[in-house]
Symmetry: C2
């Protein structure tokens, strides 16, 4: 290593921690801001500098108490977040200072990882020749993996089928729609606002996009107009009324991929169940949940495939980048009011 050794003791690590569980939308009072010296790693360990963090709807779920697919973030703990960054100290022969990696960084400036923690943190090297840093948080990261495996393994698209995806301009939606186009489907997005809809159609090549904010029957009318042969696959990121409406338009043997329900994450009353779920019976259709971690052993295959599409121009990706660790609390809210345009990324430091 040619770099001069970093004086860890002089480096402060700024962090954002969960201070209290939110009721409804998170507010400033749910967070605390702390700073502490960067921890020295044990032999075999490394220190990472956070470059960018992925802000995801799932974060809202992690803030709740109770059983889910992963444990909740504890009160007082650094908020969980996936991210990309760079090795700044290495006591491990497999990592060199300057290496770029993806890992569960948490909302903080530095992360010290001992070797026993590598696997749990999802630590992997990333190659910036394959994709940019923010693409590694988007189509080549968790949202991309979620979209890829949710579509391919659960949705099982066949050429000629019609796919509808909500949150179409979001991180997962981008991947789903573009992959479905590549697989020969008719692709109709649902997104909030004309700008997102235009981008999804003009830039990503979706066949149509429905602006759900255009009026109370916009989704219903849009599906009628743009899915003349009905809906074979619905990739649901939002739940609520949109899920209910799509259920009225599904075809026989349709597949509904339940990836998320952002409309319900801040609900302070009971979640709105899909009241048209008996359409599953009438249409012999299925609704199935997906959790991306199940596909970890195949991430590299999806990355390789989609990196090829990115390079050939068959896939595009859009990130909405906000700068500054301290902006985390208000930036997260952009996801829930639909303000983000593309995959929401918090840039913490420059390379």
């Amino acid at each position: 290593m040619t770099t001069a050794p970093l004086a860890l003791s002089s480096l402060m690590n700024h962090q954002i921690r969960l201070a209290a569980r939110p009721v409804g939308l998170p507010t400033e009072s749910n967070w605390s801001r702390t700073s502490e010296a960067v921890q020295e790693p044990l032999e075999g360990g490394i220190v990472l500098k956070t470059l960018a963090l992925s802000l995801d709807p799932a974060m809202r779920g992690w803030m709740n108490d109770g059983k889910s697919y992963i444990p909740p973030v504890g009160i007082g703990e650094v908020m969980r977040a996936g991210g990309v960054g760079q090795v700044v100290v290495s006591k491990n022969k497999n990592f060199t200072v300057g290496d770029f990696v993806s890992a569960g960084f948490g909302v903080q400036e530095y992360l010290t990882l001992n070797e026993t923690e590598f696997k749990h943190s999802g630590l992997v090297k990333i190659d910036l020749r394959v994709g940019t840093l923010t693409q590694w948080l988007n189509v080549l990261g968790m949202p991309g993996m979620t979209g890829y495996f949710g579509l391919m393994d659960v949705g099982q698209p066949q050429a000629g089928e019609t796919l509808v995806v909500s949150g179409a301009a979001g991180a997962v939606g981008q991947t789903v729609g573009q992959m479905a186009k590549i697989k020969g489907c008719r692709v109709v997005g649902i997104a909030g606002g004309q700008a997102k809809c235009d981008w999804v159609v003009k830039e990503l090549g979706f066949d149509a996009c429905i602006d759900y904010k255009a009026g109370p029957s916009a989704v219903k009318e849009g599906l009628k107009a743009h899915c003349p042969k009905g809906v074979d696959i619905y990739f649901d990121n939002v739940g609520g009324d949109i899920l209910d409406t799509v259920l009225t338009r599904i075809n026989r043997k349709a597949r509904i991929v339940i990836c998320g329900a952002i409309s319900q994450y801040n609900a302070t009353t009971a979640v709105q169940g899909p009241k048209n779920y008996l359409s599953l019976l009438v249409n012999r259709a299925r609704m199935e949940g997906i959790v991306v971690f199940d596909y970890a052993s195949r991430y590299h295959l999806a990355v390789a495939e989609m990196a090829g599409y990115l390079q050939s121009g068959q896939m595009k990706s859009k990130e909405d980048v906000v700068r500054g660790l301290d902006k985390f609390p208000q930036t997260l809210l952009k996801l829930f009011n639909g303000e983000n345009f593309g995959k929401l990324v918090l840039e913490v430091a420059s390379v």
Copy 2:
């Protein structure tokens, strides 16, 4: 044929027709009673005498207007009903007077079928050496086929898994639970009342049965007690609160077979959607609808398999038989207040 030809013109056919679409539970005013001479069949046709009719929850759905998996019964039409009966006139070389058959009889005493209508009516000969008349409406009939294919194709039971079935003492539930036992599952029923629960456990051999009428948290507590390893397959005949409760206890990769939702069929407000459906996401589980007609080409295989179990005593069947065509309206209601104990059959005539 040695039988003297039947004088059709002298035979009156009593019928029950749909007079008006019900709102909520059907009442006497939704029905009309008619009688007309039995129709003479064309060359190739037959006349059937109704012996027994199958009364099913699905009938309530057929009474509603609107798109479903089959068209609604028209106003003024004879109410649709599957049944078993006997050939009384044959102008077809494949049928002999005295043959027993299963078909879509309708709620009437006689059915004239021309050859072009055989297939649509589901006409098939039945063999009373294989099963009794009422068994041909139960485990060897539509409910049995529904249970068999819903369990085997959608539920995909594996030995050692835990299956829960609602409507456990009903026609479909009996088949599902007994088949799942044969396949090596732990089987827990949900039924209304101690008598049904006792029967399901003592006669059918279920591992346990939860009386949902025993109290507001009976299902929740019962699942905790009787499904210590969680629920791998839930075969749902009822929907509503019971579906919601089971959703909180499912395992990873669980399968929820949506066969019906009898708790919702007479709802005059919106159907209650499963508010815990996000458990599908957390558990990577699926919820899938089943319509028995899709499996028509394989009915004979299921009949052969289950007839073997009936003969060996590995399966039992229970029918709740009410006598008299004119009792159809009030008998149908037994399904919706849970009064029927076993597969509900309306006996129309004796052999």
